[in-house]
Amino acid sequence: MVGGPLKRLHNWLKSLIRSIFRRKTEVRLGLYGPTNSGKTTLANRICMDWIGEKMGKVSSIPHETREIQVKEKVTIEKGNKKLVFKLVDTPGIATKIDFEDFVKRGLKKKKAKQRAKEATKGVIEAIKWLDKMDAVLVVLDASKNPIDQVNVTILGNLEARNTPVLIVANKIDLKRANAQKVREAFPKYKVIGISAKKGSGIKNLYNELFELL
C-alpha cells in the first residue's frame, strides 16, 4: 500500500498534464459500473442511435464484457451543436469472481473457469483505464441497493482523479427500480434515470452529455 505525499503529487501532476493535452485531440467517455448494470446495453443504445451499429454482446450472465471496447468518433448532435467522443465500454468492476457462480448459471466447469480468469483481467484493465478517461458515466442498476462498496470505490477513484462524472440510474423500466434512491445515496452527483433497454430517459442523457463533456 506504499503511497505517500510524493506519489499523490505525482499522480495529480500526471492527471493534470494529461487532461490539458488530451482534451485538444480526443475526448474519452467511459462507461463504468458494477457487473450487469447495463453498461454494454447503454453503449449499444448510444452507438445504434448515432452511428447505426452495435458495440458489444449483452448477456444476463455477469462479466459478459471482459475486455475494454472502444468505439471511435461517436458524434451526437443537439441543434447546431455537435459532440464527438471515443466511447469506452469497460468490464464490470467486482471485488470477487467465483467460477462456481458461472457453473450455477449453466456454464460447463472448464468454460466457467476460463470466463472467471478473463473476468479478473477485465476488472484489472477497467481499473487501469480509470486514468485515461476524460469523463465517465457511472452506470448503476436502479433496482439494486446503490450503496455498494464497488460503486463507492468507482466514484471515489473518479473524484480523486478530478474526472467529471454523471451517474446513470439504469433499468428504470423494472418495477423495483428507484432512481430517487440512487440520488439520495449520492447527493453530490447529478443522477439521470434511464432504461437503456427500452430507451426511456435517453434523450435527457444525451442533453446532459453536452454539459458533461
Binding site: M1, G3, T95, E100, K117, K121, V123, Q149, A160
Partner: protein, 121 residues
C-alpha cells in the same frame, strides 16, 4: 481455506507501508483485516486489482467496506467540515474503519449506515 479464521487489527499507519501482496496473502489464509481508518479510493482500487491477480479456485476475491466518521454525522456546519479536514491533515488518514475479508468466508459486509455488519457464509 483450511486454516482457522483469524481477525487481524492493523493500524492504518502500518497498513499504508505494507505491500498489497502481503495483505492478499493474509486474506488468502482465512484472515479478516480490520483497519482503524477509511482507505483512500486509490488504496481500495489497488487492493481490488491485487485480489483479482490472485483469484483461483481456492480464493474468489475479497469483500470490503468502510465507515467514515465524517459521513455519519448529518447536518454538518462549516466549522464541523473545517474541523474534520484539519484533523484529517494532522492524522494523515480519514477517521473511520475498514473491514476487508476473503469472499470465500464472508457473504457480505453491509453499511447500516452507522455500523458495519459482517455476514458470514
Amino acid at each position: 481455506m483450511d486454516e482457522k479464521l483469524k481477525i487481524k487489527f492493523i493500524p492504518y499507519e502500518v497498513l499504508k507501508n505494507k505491500r498489497t501482496r502481503d495483505l492478499i496473502s493474509d486474506l488468502k489464509k482465512n484472515t479478516i483485516i480490520i483497519v482503524d481508518a477509511k482507505l483512500t479510493p486509490r488504496e481500495e482500487a489497488r487492493l481490488i486489482r491485487a485480489a483479482m491477480k490472485k483469484i483461483s479456485s481456492k480464493f474468489s476475491g475479497i469483500e470490503l467496506n468502510s465507515l467514515e466518521l465524517s459521513e455519519i454525522k448529518k447536518d454538518k456546519t462549516w466549522s464541523d467540515v473545517i474541523k474534520e479536514k484539519i484533523i484529517e491533515i494532522i492524522l494523515g488518514k480519514k477517521r473511520g474503519m475498514t473491514i476487508i475479508g476473503p469472499a470465500d468466508i464472508i457473504k457480505k459486509i453491509e453499511k447500516d449506515p452507522t455500523d458495519l455488519l459482517l455476514f458470514m457464509k
